[in-house]
């Protein structure tokens, strides 16, 4: 649940989602659910020439299970809060 709340805090920020098939999509995080399925707005594919069919996609829903990485904006990461939350989670509280 920790990363679910973490991603919820990132809603509205610009992220890059890298999928397991090497497709990388940049866009504004619109929403995220418990499976870490992701909805992006104003998307653009990083390597456009390789994926011509993605040219006309503006908003998209990405299945959580196919996500490899999510690249976050540096200012979106507060290490201290994340540390605390991780410790709390590990303690079972």
């Amino acid at each position: 649940m920790l990363f679910f709340s973490y991603f919820k805090d990132l809603v509205g920020r610009e992220v890059t989602v890298e999928l397991k098939n090497d497709l990388a999509i940049r866009g504004t995080l619109h929403s995220v659910d418990q499976y870490l399925n992701i909805k992006l707005e104003n998307t653009r594919v990083v390597d456009q020439d390789k994926y011509p069919h993605m040219l006309s996609v503006r908003n998209c829903f990405i299945r959580g299970s196919v996500v490899r990485y999510v690249q976050l904006p540096p200012e979106g990461v507060d290490i201290e809060i994340l540390h605390d939350a991780t410790r709390r989670e590990a303690r079972g509280g």
């Binding site: 999928l19 098939n21 497709l23 999509i25 619109h30 929403s31 399925n37 909805k39 707005e41 998307t43 011509p52 069919h53 993605m54 040219l55 006309s56 996609v57 503006r58 908003n59 998209c60 829903f61 990405i62 299945r63 299970s65 196919v66």
Partner: protein
């Protein structure tokens, strides 16, 4: 933001691209597309193969994309060809890929092949 009754593209795990009108979606991610068609792209060539009403099991979909103004635009230099031609192009591409991986396996130590 929801995509119901809109034209969408669905990417599948086997790298296929299916276009259609999104009719239904459940919490497993199972999808029903109406008037679905698969777009096969090989290099600069493409072809749409009609599929009719299409149900996709959730685990085999990667992404659902809403199309801008319901458009399906591709770069202008891409050419629409018949199903026969695209199948032929697919076969040629596969053979070239197989040959390359065969060469790499046998002679991967020669780095100029890459």
């Amino acid at each position: 933001m929801h995509f119901f009754a809109e034209e969408v593209i669905v990417l599948l795990i086997d790298d296929r691209k299916v276009y259609g009108c999104l009719r239904s979606l459940d919490h497993h991610g199972n999808i029903v597309l109406e008037g679905a068609r698969e777009r096969i792209i090989v290099g600069d060539l493409y072809c749409d193969v009609p599929l009719g009403l299409f149900v996709i099991r959730g685990e085999s979909s990667i992404l659902i994309g809403q199309l801008r103004f319901g458009m399906e635009d591709l770069p202008e230099d891409m050419m629409c060809v018949s199903e026969e031609e695209i199948k032929k192009a697919q076969k040629v591409e596969k053979e070239a890929k197989d040959l390359k991986s065969f060469m790499m396996k046998r002679m991967g130590f020669l780095d100029f092949l890459d």
